[in-house]
Protein backbone atom coordinates (compact mmCIF):
# COMPACT_ATOMS: atom_id res chain seq x y z
CA UNK A 1 0.00 0.00 0.00
CA UNK A 2 1.14 3.50 -0.77
CA UNK A 3 0.18 6.91 0.43
CA UNK A 4 -0.01 9.60 -2.20
CA UNK A 5 0.32 13.13 -0.91
CA UNK A 6 -0.63 15.69 -3.50
CA UNK A 7 -0.17 19.42 -2.91
CA UNK A 8 -2.50 21.07 -5.39
CA UNK A 9 -4.40 24.26 -6.09
CA UNK A 10 -7.62 24.37 -4.07
CA UNK A 11 -10.01 24.40 -6.97
CA UNK A 12 -8.56 21.22 -8.43
CA UNK A 13 -10.09 19.17 -5.61
CA UNK A 14 -13.45 18.55 -7.20
CA UNK A 15 -11.93 17.35 -10.45
CA UNK A 16 -9.47 15.06 -8.71
CA UNK A 17 -12.18 13.57 -6.55
CA UNK A 18 -14.34 12.87 -9.57
CA UNK A 19 -11.48 11.23 -11.47
CA UNK A 20 -10.53 9.04 -8.53
CA UNK A 21 -14.10 7.91 -8.09
CA UNK A 22 -14.03 6.66 -11.65
CA UNK A 23 -11.07 4.52 -10.67
CA UNK A 24 -12.95 3.17 -7.70
CA UNK A 25 -10.84 5.07 -5.17
CA UNK A 26 -13.17 6.76 -2.72
CA UNK A 27 -11.29 7.55 0.44
CA UNK A 28 -9.34 10.74 0.73
CA UNK A 29 -8.29 13.22 3.40
CA UNK A 30 -7.78 16.90 2.64
CA UNK A 31 -5.75 19.40 4.62
CA UNK A 32 -5.45 23.15 4.21
CA UNK A 33 -1.85 24.10 3.75
CA UNK A 34 0.33 26.84 2.39
CA UNK A 35 2.93 26.22 -0.24
CA UNK A 36 6.17 27.80 -1.16
CA UNK A 37 7.71 26.96 -4.49
CA UNK A 38 8.34 28.36 -7.93
CA UNK A 39 5.05 30.20 -7.73
CA UNK A 40 5.67 33.41 -5.86
CA UNK A 41 3.43 34.56 -3.06
CA UNK A 42 1.90 38.00 -3.21
CA UNK A 43 2.51 41.35 -1.61
CA UNK A 44 0.14 42.91 0.84
CA UNK A 45 0.01 46.47 2.07
CA UNK A 46 -1.15 48.00 5.27
CA UNK A 47 -1.06 51.63 6.22
CA UNK A 48 1.59 52.61 3.74
CA UNK A 49 4.05 49.75 4.22
CA UNK A 50 4.48 46.54 2.28
CA UNK A 51 4.40 43.01 3.52
CA UNK A 52 5.71 40.06 1.66
CA UNK A 53 3.39 37.11 2.04
CA UNK A 54 5.51 34.25 0.79
CA UNK A 55 3.04 31.41 1.06
CA UNK A 56 0.24 30.51 -1.31
CA UNK A 57 -2.90 28.67 -0.15
CA UNK A 58 -2.89 25.05 -1.31
CA UNK A 59 -4.62 21.87 -0.39
CA UNK A 60 -2.81 18.73 0.63
CA UNK A 61 -4.67 15.61 -0.41
CA UNK A 62 -3.76 12.32 1.21
CA UNK A 63 -4.89 9.26 -0.69
CA UNK A 64 -3.94 5.78 0.46
CA UNK A 65 -4.10 3.26 -2.37
CA UNK A 66 -3.35 -0.37 -2.95
CA UNK A 67 0.04 -0.66 -4.58
CA UNK A 68 -1.48 -1.91 -7.79
CA UNK A 69 -3.65 1.22 -8.04
CA UNK A 70 -0.77 3.59 -7.45
CA UNK A 71 0.21 4.39 -11.01
CA UNK A 72 -3.36 4.88 -12.14
CA UNK A 73 -4.06 7.12 -9.19
CA UNK A 74 -0.97 9.24 -9.72
CA UNK A 75 -1.90 9.62 -13.32
CA UNK A 76 -5.44 10.60 -12.52
CA UNK A 77 -4.33 13.23 -10.06
CA UNK A 78 -1.61 14.68 -12.24
CA UNK A 79 -3.80 15.05 -15.26
CA UNK A 80 -6.74 16.57 -13.39
CA UNK A 81 -4.63 19.07 -11.52
CA UNK A 82 -2.49 20.18 -14.42
CA UNK A 83 -3.10 23.65 -15.85
CA UNK A 84 0.42 24.14 -17.09
CA UNK A 85 1.27 27.15 -14.99
CA UNK A 86 3.64 27.32 -12.04
CA UNK A 87 2.07 26.35 -8.78
CA UNK A 88 0.21 23.35 -10.16
CA UNK A 89 1.65 21.37 -7.33
CA UNK A 90 3.59 18.27 -6.48
CA UNK A 91 2.96 14.65 -5.59
CA UNK A 92 4.86 12.74 -2.95
CA UNK A 93 4.49 8.98 -2.61
CA UNK A 94 5.65 6.73 0.21
CA UNK A 95 4.91 3.20 1.16
CA UNK A 96 2.70 2.31 4.10
CA UNK A 97 3.50 -0.38 6.59
CA UNK A 98 -0.02 -0.80 7.74
CA UNK A 99 -3.54 0.48 7.35
CA UNK A 100 -6.35 -0.09 9.87
CA UNK A 101 -10.03 0.76 9.55
CA UNK A 102 -11.08 1.93 12.99
CA UNK A 103 -14.71 0.94 12.78
CA UNK A 104 -14.10 -2.74 12.02
CA UNK A 105 -10.45 -3.28 12.79
CA UNK A 106 -9.87 -4.57 9.23
CA UNK A 107 -6.27 -4.24 8.18
CA UNK A 108 -4.21 -3.33 5.14
CA UNK A 109 -5.75 -3.88 1.71
CA UNK A 110 -9.05 -4.83 3.31
CA UNK A 111 -9.13 -1.45 4.93
CA UNK A 112 -8.74 0.48 1.73
Amino acid sequence: MHMIEAVVKPYAIDKIKAKLSELGIFGCTAIECKGFGKQKGHTERYRGARIDVGFVPKVLLKIAVKSEDMEKAIDAITTSARTGSVGDGKLFVYSLTKVVRVRTGEEDNDAL
Partner: protein
Amino acid sequence: MKRPSSWLMLLSIFAIVGLSCTSVLHAQDAAEVVETAAAYTYDWSKSEVTPEMFAVNNLWIMIAAMLVFIMHLGFAMVESGLTRAKNTVNILFKNTMIPMIGIVMYAVCGWLIMYPGDSWIVDGVFAFGFGIGGGGIYNGGDVLYEGITPAYSTGYTVWTDFLFQGMFAATCATIVSGAVAGRVKLLPFLIFSILFVGILYPITGSWKWGGGWLDARGFADFAGSTLVHAVGGAGALAGALILGPRIGKFGKDGTVHPIPGHSMPLATIGVFLLWFGWFGFNGGSELSADPAGVSYVLVTTTIAACGGGIACAICSWVVGGKPDLSMALNGILAGLVGITAGPDTPTWIEALLGIGAVSGVLCYFAVLFFDKLKIDDPVGAISVHGVCGIYGTLCVAIFGDMSLLGIQALGTAVCFITSFVFAAVVFGILKATMGIRVTEEEEIEGLDLGEHEMAAYPDFQRTYIKSYEAGEI
Protein backbone atom coordinates in the same frame (compact mmCIF):
# COMPACT_ATOMS: atom_id res chain seq x y z
CA MET B 1 1.23 49.03 -16.60
CA LYS B 2 -1.98 49.68 -14.74
CA ARG B 3 -0.65 52.49 -12.64
CA PRO B 4 -0.51 55.27 -15.25
CA SER B 5 -4.13 54.82 -16.16
CA SER B 6 -5.30 54.79 -12.54
CA TRP B 7 -3.27 57.94 -12.00
CA LEU B 8 -4.92 59.56 -14.94
CA MET B 9 -8.37 58.62 -13.78
CA LEU B 10 -7.71 59.76 -10.26
CA LEU B 11 -6.34 63.04 -11.50
CA SER B 12 -9.36 63.61 -13.67
CA ILE B 13 -11.70 62.86 -10.78
CA PHE B 14 -9.74 65.31 -8.74
CA ALA B 15 -9.93 67.85 -11.55
CA ILE B 16 -13.68 67.48 -11.98
CA VAL B 17 -14.40 67.79 -8.31
CA GLY B 18 -11.93 70.61 -7.95
CA LEU B 19 -13.35 72.56 -10.85
CA SER B 20 -16.90 72.24 -9.77
CA CYS B 21 -15.95 73.27 -6.26
CA THR B 22 -14.11 76.29 -7.52
CA SER B 23 -17.00 77.34 -9.65
CA VAL B 24 -19.26 77.15 -6.65
CA LEU B 25 -16.84 79.02 -4.49
CA HIS B 26 -16.57 81.70 -7.07
CA ALA B 27 -20.26 82.01 -7.47
CA GLN B 28 -20.59 82.34 -3.75
CA ASP B 29 -17.97 85.05 -3.60
CA ALA B 30 -19.62 86.90 -6.41
CA ALA B 31 -22.89 86.95 -4.62
CA GLU B 32 -21.21 87.93 -1.39
CA VAL B 33 -23.36 85.58 0.54
CA VAL B 34 -20.73 83.50 2.24
CA GLU B 35 -22.25 83.97 5.61
CA THR B 36 -22.19 81.45 8.37
CA ALA B 37 -25.15 80.03 10.10
CA ALA B 38 -24.46 82.01 13.19
CA ALA B 39 -25.29 85.17 11.37
CA TYR B 40 -28.84 84.22 10.55
CA THR B 41 -31.62 85.80 12.51
CA TYR B 42 -35.27 85.42 11.97
CA ASP B 43 -38.26 87.36 12.98
CA TRP B 44 -40.28 84.59 14.48
CA SER B 45 -43.36 86.72 14.78
CA LYS B 46 -43.89 86.35 11.04
CA SER B 47 -43.55 82.62 11.15
CA GLU B 48 -46.36 80.23 10.58
CA VAL B 49 -45.03 77.88 13.19
CA THR B 50 -43.82 78.82 16.59
CA PRO B 51 -40.08 78.72 17.22
CA GLU B 52 -40.66 75.75 19.49
CA MET B 53 -42.49 73.79 16.85
CA PHE B 54 -39.87 74.69 14.31
CA ALA B 55 -37.16 73.42 16.69
CA VAL B 56 -38.99 70.14 17.22
CA ASN B 57 -39.59 69.62 13.53
CA ASN B 58 -36.01 70.44 12.72
CA LEU B 59 -34.70 68.18 15.49
CA TRP B 60 -36.64 65.22 14.14
CA ILE B 61 -35.42 65.72 10.58
CA MET B 62 -31.83 66.01 11.82
CA ILE B 63 -32.22 62.80 13.76
CA ALA B 64 -33.83 61.17 10.75
CA ALA B 65 -30.79 62.19 8.70
CA MET B 66 -28.54 60.50 11.26
CA LEU B 67 -30.66 57.38 11.08
CA VAL B 68 -30.39 57.35 7.31
CA PHE B 69 -26.65 57.80 7.71
CA ILE B 70 -26.40 54.64 9.76
CA MET B 71 -28.10 52.79 6.92
CA HIS B 72 -24.84 53.08 5.04
CA LEU B 73 -23.19 50.99 7.72
CA GLY B 74 -26.14 48.65 7.37
CA PHE B 75 -25.56 48.28 3.65
CA ALA B 76 -21.84 47.75 4.18
CA MET B 77 -22.55 44.94 6.63
CA VAL B 78 -25.26 43.23 4.59
CA GLU B 79 -23.17 43.29 1.46
CA SER B 80 -19.95 42.13 3.05
CA GLY B 81 -21.76 39.52 5.13
CA LEU B 82 -23.48 38.03 2.09
CA THR B 83 -20.34 37.81 -0.04
CA ARG B 84 -17.04 35.97 0.27
CA ALA B 85 -14.33 36.65 2.82
CA LYS B 86 -11.85 37.21 0.02
CA ASN B 87 -13.81 40.25 -1.25
CA THR B 88 -14.52 41.86 2.10
CA VAL B 89 -12.02 44.70 2.02
CA ASN B 90 -13.20 45.59 -1.46
CA ILE B 91 -16.83 45.76 -0.45
CA LEU B 92 -16.14 47.69 2.70
CA PHE B 93 -14.03 50.13 0.73
CA LYS B 94 -16.80 50.70 -1.81
CA ASN B 95 -19.42 51.09 0.87
CA THR B 96 -17.25 53.51 2.78
CA MET B 97 -16.54 55.63 -0.28
CA ILE B 98 -20.10 55.71 -1.64
CA PRO B 99 -21.74 57.73 1.13
CA MET B 100 -18.84 60.17 1.04
CA ILE B 101 -18.98 60.47 -2.73
CA GLY B 102 -22.74 60.72 -2.55
CA ILE B 103 -22.77 63.56 -0.07
CA VAL B 104 -20.05 65.50 -1.86
CA MET B 105 -21.69 65.07 -5.27
CA TYR B 106 -24.99 66.04 -3.76
CA ALA B 107 -23.40 69.21 -2.46
CA VAL B 108 -21.65 69.90 -5.75
CA CYS B 109 -24.67 69.60 -8.01
CA GLY B 110 -27.13 66.88 -7.00
CA TRP B 111 -29.22 68.93 -4.67
CA LEU B 112 -29.90 71.66 -7.18
CA ILE B 113 -30.65 69.18 -9.92
CA MET B 114 -33.17 67.55 -7.64
CA TYR B 115 -34.82 70.59 -6.08
CA PRO B 116 -34.73 73.30 -8.72
CA GLY B 117 -37.58 75.37 -7.37
CA ASP B 118 -38.73 77.27 -10.43
CA SER B 119 -35.44 77.15 -12.27
CA TRP B 120 -35.97 74.22 -14.60
CA ILE B 121 -33.91 73.99 -17.75
CA VAL B 122 -36.38 71.60 -19.34
CA ASP B 123 -39.58 72.26 -17.45
CA GLY B 124 -40.42 69.46 -15.01
CA VAL B 125 -37.74 67.24 -16.46
CA PHE B 126 -34.27 68.62 -16.04
CA ALA B 127 -32.52 71.28 -14.03
CA PHE B 128 -28.98 72.04 -13.00
CA GLY B 129 -27.08 74.08 -10.46
CA PHE B 130 -23.97 74.03 -8.34
CA GLY B 131 -23.54 74.03 -4.60
CA ILE B 132 -25.63 73.99 -1.45
CA GLY B 133 -27.84 76.92 -2.18
CA GLY B 134 -30.78 78.47 -0.42
CA GLY B 135 -33.51 76.00 -0.93
CA GLY B 136 -33.18 75.36 -4.58
CA ILE B 137 -33.18 78.94 -5.72
CA TYR B 138 -29.47 79.40 -5.69
CA ASN B 139 -28.19 78.65 -9.13
CA GLY B 140 -26.41 81.51 -10.69
CA GLY B 141 -28.73 84.45 -11.14
CA ASP B 142 -30.67 85.98 -8.35
CA VAL B 143 -29.20 84.60 -5.22
CA LEU B 144 -31.46 84.24 -2.25
CA TYR B 145 -29.59 82.81 0.66
CA GLU B 146 -32.03 82.98 3.50
CA GLY B 147 -31.03 79.59 4.65
CA ILE B 148 -32.54 78.78 7.92
CA THR B 149 -35.81 80.64 8.08
CA PRO B 150 -39.20 79.02 8.17
CA ALA B 151 -39.77 80.76 4.91
CA TYR B 152 -37.66 77.96 3.50
CA SER B 153 -39.87 75.43 5.12
CA THR B 154 -42.01 75.22 8.19
CA GLY B 155 -40.20 72.06 9.10
CA TYR B 156 -36.48 72.59 9.07
CA THR B 157 -33.54 74.68 8.06
CA VAL B 158 -31.93 74.55 4.68
CA TRP B 159 -28.97 72.73 6.21
CA THR B 160 -31.13 70.06 7.76
CA ASP B 161 -32.80 69.62 4.42
CA PHE B 162 -29.49 69.18 2.64
CA LEU B 163 -28.27 66.70 5.23
CA PHE B 164 -31.38 64.57 5.07
CA GLN B 165 -31.57 64.57 1.27
CA GLY B 166 -27.82 64.05 0.88
CA MET B 167 -27.90 61.00 3.12
CA PHE B 168 -30.72 59.62 0.98
CA ALA B 169 -28.88 60.16 -2.26
CA ALA B 170 -26.01 57.82 -1.60
CA THR B 171 -28.23 54.86 -0.80
CA CYS B 172 -29.03 54.54 -4.46
CA ALA B 173 -25.49 53.73 -5.56
CA THR B 174 -25.03 51.45 -2.59
CA ILE B 175 -27.84 49.28 -3.85
CA VAL B 176 -25.96 48.76 -7.10
CA SER B 177 -22.79 47.96 -5.21
CA GLY B 178 -24.28 44.78 -3.78
CA ALA B 179 -25.35 43.37 -7.14
CA VAL B 180 -21.96 43.79 -8.79
CA ALA B 181 -19.95 42.58 -5.80
CA GLY B 182 -17.17 40.08 -6.23
CA ARG B 183 -16.16 40.94 -9.78
CA VAL B 184 -16.41 44.63 -10.60
CA LYS B 185 -13.26 46.71 -10.91
CA LEU B 186 -13.00 49.35 -8.23
CA LEU B 187 -12.18 52.50 -10.18
CA PRO B 188 -14.87 52.14 -12.88
CA PHE B 189 -17.40 51.40 -10.18
CA LEU B 190 -16.47 54.54 -8.28
CA ILE B 191 -16.83 56.55 -11.50
CA PHE B 192 -20.21 54.96 -12.05
CA SER B 193 -21.23 55.88 -8.51
CA ILE B 194 -20.23 59.49 -8.99
CA LEU B 195 -22.39 59.77 -12.09
CA PHE B 196 -25.27 57.73 -10.71
CA VAL B 197 -25.52 59.72 -7.47
CA GLY B 198 -24.57 63.05 -8.95
CA ILE B 199 -26.70 62.99 -12.10
CA LEU B 200 -29.18 60.16 -12.52
CA TYR B 201 -30.61 59.94 -9.02
CA PRO B 202 -31.33 63.67 -8.71
CA ILE B 203 -32.86 63.83 -12.19
CA THR B 204 -35.41 61.08 -11.61
CA GLY B 205 -35.80 62.44 -8.09
CA SER B 206 -36.68 65.89 -9.41
CA TRP B 207 -39.55 64.46 -11.42
CA LYS B 208 -41.44 63.81 -8.20
CA TRP B 209 -39.81 65.35 -5.15
CA GLY B 210 -38.50 68.36 -7.02
CA GLY B 211 -41.97 69.12 -8.28
CA GLY B 212 -41.41 67.85 -11.83
CA TRP B 213 -43.70 66.17 -14.31
CA LEU B 214 -44.50 63.08 -12.27
CA ASP B 215 -45.47 65.21 -9.32
CA ALA B 216 -47.71 67.28 -11.51
CA ARG B 217 -49.51 64.15 -12.64
CA GLY B 218 -50.23 63.01 -9.08
CA PHE B 219 -47.61 60.28 -8.79
CA ALA B 220 -47.14 59.32 -5.16
CA ASP B 221 -43.91 58.11 -3.62
CA PHE B 222 -43.71 58.91 0.04
CA ALA B 223 -40.11 57.99 0.80
CA GLY B 224 -38.83 56.49 -2.40
CA SER B 225 -39.94 52.95 -3.22
CA THR B 226 -39.42 54.09 -6.80
CA LEU B 227 -37.16 57.12 -6.56
CA VAL B 228 -34.60 55.39 -4.39
CA HIS B 229 -35.15 51.66 -4.47
CA ALA B 230 -36.51 50.84 -7.90
CA VAL B 231 -34.03 53.28 -9.41
CA GLY B 232 -31.21 51.62 -7.48
CA GLY B 233 -32.53 48.18 -8.37
CA ALA B 234 -32.58 49.07 -12.06
CA GLY B 235 -28.96 50.15 -11.88
CA ALA B 236 -28.21 46.90 -10.10
CA LEU B 237 -29.89 44.91 -12.84
CA ALA B 238 -27.96 46.73 -15.56
CA GLY B 239 -24.70 46.20 -13.71
CA ALA B 240 -25.30 42.52 -13.03
CA LEU B 241 -26.29 41.91 -16.66
CA ILE B 242 -23.35 43.68 -18.20
CA LEU B 243 -20.81 42.19 -15.82
CA GLY B 244 -22.10 38.66 -16.06
CA PRO B 245 -22.16 36.18 -13.20
CA ARG B 246 -19.29 35.38 -10.88
CA ILE B 247 -17.11 32.47 -11.92
CA GLY B 248 -18.68 29.26 -10.71
CA LYS B 249 -22.11 30.65 -9.90
CA PHE B 250 -23.82 28.82 -12.73
CA GLY B 251 -22.74 25.39 -13.96
CA LYS B 252 -22.47 24.69 -17.66
CA ASP B 253 -25.53 22.49 -17.32
CA GLY B 254 -27.55 25.37 -15.97
CA THR B 255 -27.36 24.37 -12.32
CA VAL B 256 -27.10 27.08 -9.71
CA HIS B 257 -24.12 26.83 -7.39
CA PRO B 258 -24.86 29.12 -4.49
CA ILE B 259 -21.88 31.06 -3.21
CA PRO B 260 -22.67 31.47 0.49
CA GLY B 261 -22.01 34.72 2.28
CA HIS B 262 -19.05 34.58 4.60
CA SER B 263 -20.54 35.96 7.79
CA MET B 264 -24.13 35.68 8.89
CA PRO B 265 -23.60 37.90 11.96
CA LEU B 266 -22.47 40.77 9.74
CA ALA B 267 -25.50 40.28 7.49
CA THR B 268 -27.76 40.33 10.56
CA ILE B 269 -26.15 43.44 11.95
CA GLY B 270 -26.65 45.04 8.57
CA VAL B 271 -30.34 44.27 8.31
CA PHE B 272 -31.10 45.44 11.83
CA LEU B 273 -29.23 48.68 11.22
CA LEU B 274 -31.11 49.16 7.96
CA TRP B 275 -34.40 48.64 9.75
CA PHE B 276 -33.25 51.08 12.44
CA GLY B 277 -32.27 53.59 9.77
CA TRP B 278 -35.56 53.10 7.96
CA PHE B 279 -37.35 54.72 10.90
CA GLY B 280 -35.59 57.88 9.76
CA PHE B 281 -35.95 57.11 6.08
CA ASN B 282 -39.73 56.82 6.22
CA GLY B 283 -40.45 58.72 9.40
CA GLY B 284 -38.28 61.63 8.31
CA SER B 285 -40.00 61.77 4.95
CA GLU B 286 -43.02 63.12 6.79
CA LEU B 287 -40.81 66.25 6.73
CA SER B 288 -42.01 67.34 10.14
CA ALA B 289 -42.36 65.89 13.59
CA ASP B 290 -46.16 65.81 13.29
CA PRO B 291 -47.00 63.33 16.06
CA ALA B 292 -49.85 61.61 14.27
CA GLY B 293 -48.16 61.44 10.90
CA VAL B 294 -44.74 60.29 12.00
CA SER B 295 -45.86 57.77 14.57
CA TYR B 296 -48.32 56.23 12.15
CA VAL B 297 -45.61 55.91 9.52
CA LEU B 298 -43.31 54.27 12.03
CA VAL B 299 -45.96 51.73 12.96
CA THR B 300 -46.77 50.72 9.38
CA THR B 301 -43.07 50.63 8.54
CA THR B 302 -42.33 48.34 11.45
CA ILE B 303 -45.26 46.08 10.76
CA ALA B 304 -44.47 45.78 7.06
CA ALA B 305 -40.92 44.78 7.96
CA CYS B 306 -42.32 42.08 10.25
CA GLY B 307 -44.67 40.88 7.56
CA GLY B 308 -41.91 40.70 4.98
CA GLY B 309 -39.47 38.92 7.23
CA ILE B 310 -41.95 36.36 8.54
CA ALA B 311 -43.41 35.65 5.11
CA CYS B 312 -40.04 35.20 3.45
CA ALA B 313 -38.84 32.98 6.28
CA ILE B 314 -41.95 30.81 6.02
CA CYS B 315 -41.49 30.59 2.24
CA SER B 316 -37.95 29.36 2.64
CA TRP B 317 -39.14 26.88 5.25
CA VAL B 318 -42.15 25.53 3.45
CA VAL B 319 -41.00 25.81 -0.14
CA GLY B 320 -37.27 25.47 0.35
CA GLY B 321 -37.40 22.93 3.14
CA LYS B 322 -35.40 24.70 5.81
CA PRO B 323 -35.71 28.10 7.51
CA ASP B 324 -33.17 30.25 5.72
CA LEU B 325 -31.71 33.15 7.69
CA SER B 326 -30.51 35.00 4.62
CA MET B 327 -34.03 34.87 3.24
CA ALA B 328 -35.60 36.07 6.48
CA LEU B 329 -33.20 39.01 6.41
CA ASN B 330 -33.92 39.78 2.76
CA GLY B 331 -37.62 39.53 3.54
CA ILE B 332 -37.36 42.24 6.19
CA LEU B 333 -35.73 44.53 3.67
CA ALA B 334 -38.35 43.58 1.09
CA GLY B 335 -41.15 44.55 3.48
CA LEU B 336 -39.43 47.83 4.24
CA VAL B 337 -38.91 48.66 0.57
CA GLY B 338 -42.52 47.76 -0.14
CA ILE B 339 -44.02 50.06 2.49
CA THR B 340 -41.77 52.97 1.58
CA ALA B 341 -43.93 54.39 -1.20
CA GLY B 342 -46.91 54.87 1.04
CA PRO B 343 -46.49 54.19 4.76
CA ASP B 344 -48.97 56.93 5.61
CA THR B 345 -52.19 55.38 4.41
CA PRO B 346 -52.59 51.59 4.84
CA THR B 347 -54.15 50.03 7.91
CA TRP B 348 -51.84 47.87 9.94
CA ILE B 349 -53.39 44.71 8.54
CA GLU B 350 -52.75 45.94 5.03
CA ALA B 351 -49.20 46.86 5.98
CA LEU B 352 -48.69 43.43 7.54
CA LEU B 353 -50.25 41.20 4.93
CA GLY B 354 -50.96 43.16 1.79
CA ILE B 355 -47.71 45.05 1.61
CA GLY B 356 -45.19 43.41 3.94
CA ALA B 357 -45.95 39.73 3.52
CA VAL B 358 -46.55 39.98 -0.21
CA SER B 359 -43.25 41.81 -0.64
CA GLY B 360 -41.52 39.09 1.34
CA VAL B 361 -43.00 36.36 -0.84
CA LEU B 362 -42.22 38.33 -4.01
CA CYS B 363 -38.66 38.72 -2.86
CA TYR B 364 -38.28 35.00 -2.22
CA PHE B 365 -39.44 33.99 -5.66
CA ALA B 366 -37.63 36.85 -7.35
CA VAL B 367 -34.34 35.58 -5.96
CA LEU B 368 -35.04 32.14 -7.43
CA PHE B 369 -36.23 33.74 -10.66
CA PHE B 370 -33.10 35.80 -11.26
CA ASP B 371 -31.03 32.74 -10.48
CA LYS B 372 -33.00 30.91 -13.17
CA LEU B 373 -32.26 33.73 -15.59
CA LYS B 374 -28.59 33.36 -14.71
CA ILE B 375 -28.40 36.90 -13.44
CA ASP B 376 -26.00 36.79 -10.54
CA ASP B 377 -26.97 39.17 -7.75
CA PRO B 378 -24.91 38.21 -4.70
CA VAL B 379 -27.00 40.06 -2.13
CA GLY B 380 -30.42 39.99 -3.78
CA ALA B 381 -30.45 43.72 -4.48
CA ILE B 382 -32.51 43.46 -7.65
CA SER B 383 -35.16 41.34 -5.94
CA VAL B 384 -35.34 43.41 -2.78
CA HIS B 385 -35.01 46.92 -4.12
CA GLY B 386 -36.06 46.55 -7.74
CA VAL B 387 -38.99 44.15 -7.54
CA CYS B 388 -40.36 45.24 -4.17
CA GLY B 389 -39.74 48.89 -5.01
CA ILE B 390 -42.03 48.56 -7.99
CA TYR B 391 -44.59 46.56 -6.05
CA GLY B 392 -44.53 49.09 -3.23
CA THR B 393 -45.16 51.92 -5.64
CA LEU B 394 -48.21 50.13 -6.98
CA CYS B 395 -49.42 49.43 -3.44
CA VAL B 396 -50.13 53.12 -2.95
CA ALA B 397 -52.91 52.67 -5.48
CA ILE B 398 -53.88 49.13 -4.55
CA PHE B 399 -54.38 49.86 -0.87
CA GLY B 400 -55.42 53.45 -1.38
CA ASP B 401 -56.89 55.24 -4.33
CA MET B 402 -57.15 52.79 -7.21
CA SER B 403 -57.47 55.63 -9.69
CA LEU B 404 -53.80 56.27 -9.13
CA LEU B 405 -52.80 52.87 -10.47
CA GLY B 406 -52.05 54.22 -13.95
CA ILE B 407 -49.74 57.00 -12.91
CA GLN B 408 -48.08 54.80 -10.29
CA ALA B 409 -47.30 52.17 -12.89
CA LEU B 410 -46.17 54.75 -15.40
CA GLY B 411 -43.99 56.57 -12.90
CA THR B 412 -42.21 53.52 -11.60
CA ALA B 413 -41.75 52.13 -15.10
CA VAL B 414 -40.30 55.32 -16.49
CA CYS B 415 -37.95 55.77 -13.54
CA PHE B 416 -36.87 52.14 -13.66
CA ILE B 417 -36.20 52.26 -17.38
CA THR B 418 -34.42 55.59 -17.25
CA SER B 419 -32.15 54.33 -14.52
CA PHE B 420 -31.56 51.04 -16.32
CA VAL B 421 -30.63 52.79 -19.56
CA PHE B 422 -28.41 55.29 -17.82
CA ALA B 423 -26.61 52.59 -15.88
CA ALA B 424 -26.28 50.39 -18.94
CA VAL B 425 -24.80 53.22 -20.98
CA VAL B 426 -22.35 54.21 -18.27
CA PHE B 427 -21.29 50.63 -17.58
CA GLY B 428 -21.11 50.04 -21.32
CA ILE B 429 -18.80 52.98 -21.93
CA LEU B 430 -16.65 52.05 -18.95
CA LYS B 431 -16.47 48.47 -20.20
CA ALA B 432 -15.36 49.62 -23.62
CA THR B 433 -12.76 52.04 -22.32
CA MET B 434 -11.19 50.82 -19.12
CA GLY B 435 -12.89 47.50 -18.56
CA ILE B 436 -15.22 46.87 -15.67
CA ARG B 437 -14.42 43.31 -14.70
CA VAL B 438 -11.34 42.07 -12.90
CA THR B 439 -9.29 39.28 -14.42
CA GLU B 440 -10.32 35.70 -13.82
CA GLU B 441 -7.24 35.14 -11.70
CA GLU B 442 -7.99 38.17 -9.55
CA GLU B 443 -11.61 37.12 -9.14
CA ILE B 444 -10.59 33.66 -7.97
CA GLU B 445 -7.94 34.97 -5.60
CA GLY B 446 -10.33 37.63 -4.38
CA LEU B 447 -10.62 41.34 -5.03
CA ASP B 448 -9.02 42.14 -1.71
CA LEU B 449 -5.66 40.98 -2.97
CA GLY B 450 -6.09 42.22 -6.51
CA GLU B 451 -7.55 45.64 -5.91
CA HIS B 452 -6.24 46.41 -2.46
CA GLU B 453 -3.39 44.04 -1.68
CA MET B 454 -4.97 43.67 1.72
CA ALA B 455 -6.61 40.89 3.64
CA ALA B 456 -9.75 41.43 5.67
CA TYR B 457 -8.98 38.68 8.17
CA PRO B 458 -5.22 38.05 8.07
CA ASP B 459 -5.19 36.23 11.41
CA PHE B 460 -7.66 33.53 10.49
CA GLN B 461 -7.12 30.38 8.49
CA ARG B 462 -9.52 30.36 5.61
CA THR B 463 -10.92 27.16 4.26
CA TYR B 464 -10.53 26.16 0.64
CA ILE B 465 -11.70 22.60 1.03
CA LYS B 466 -15.32 22.55 0.05
CA SER B 467 -17.41 21.68 -2.88
CA TYR B 468 -19.32 24.90 -2.78
CA GLU B 469 -18.48 26.06 -6.20
CA ALA B 470 -17.67 24.61 -9.52
CA GLY B 471 -14.28 25.92 -10.40
CA GLU B 472 -14.00 28.73 -7.90
CA ILE B 473 -12.21 28.68 -4.59
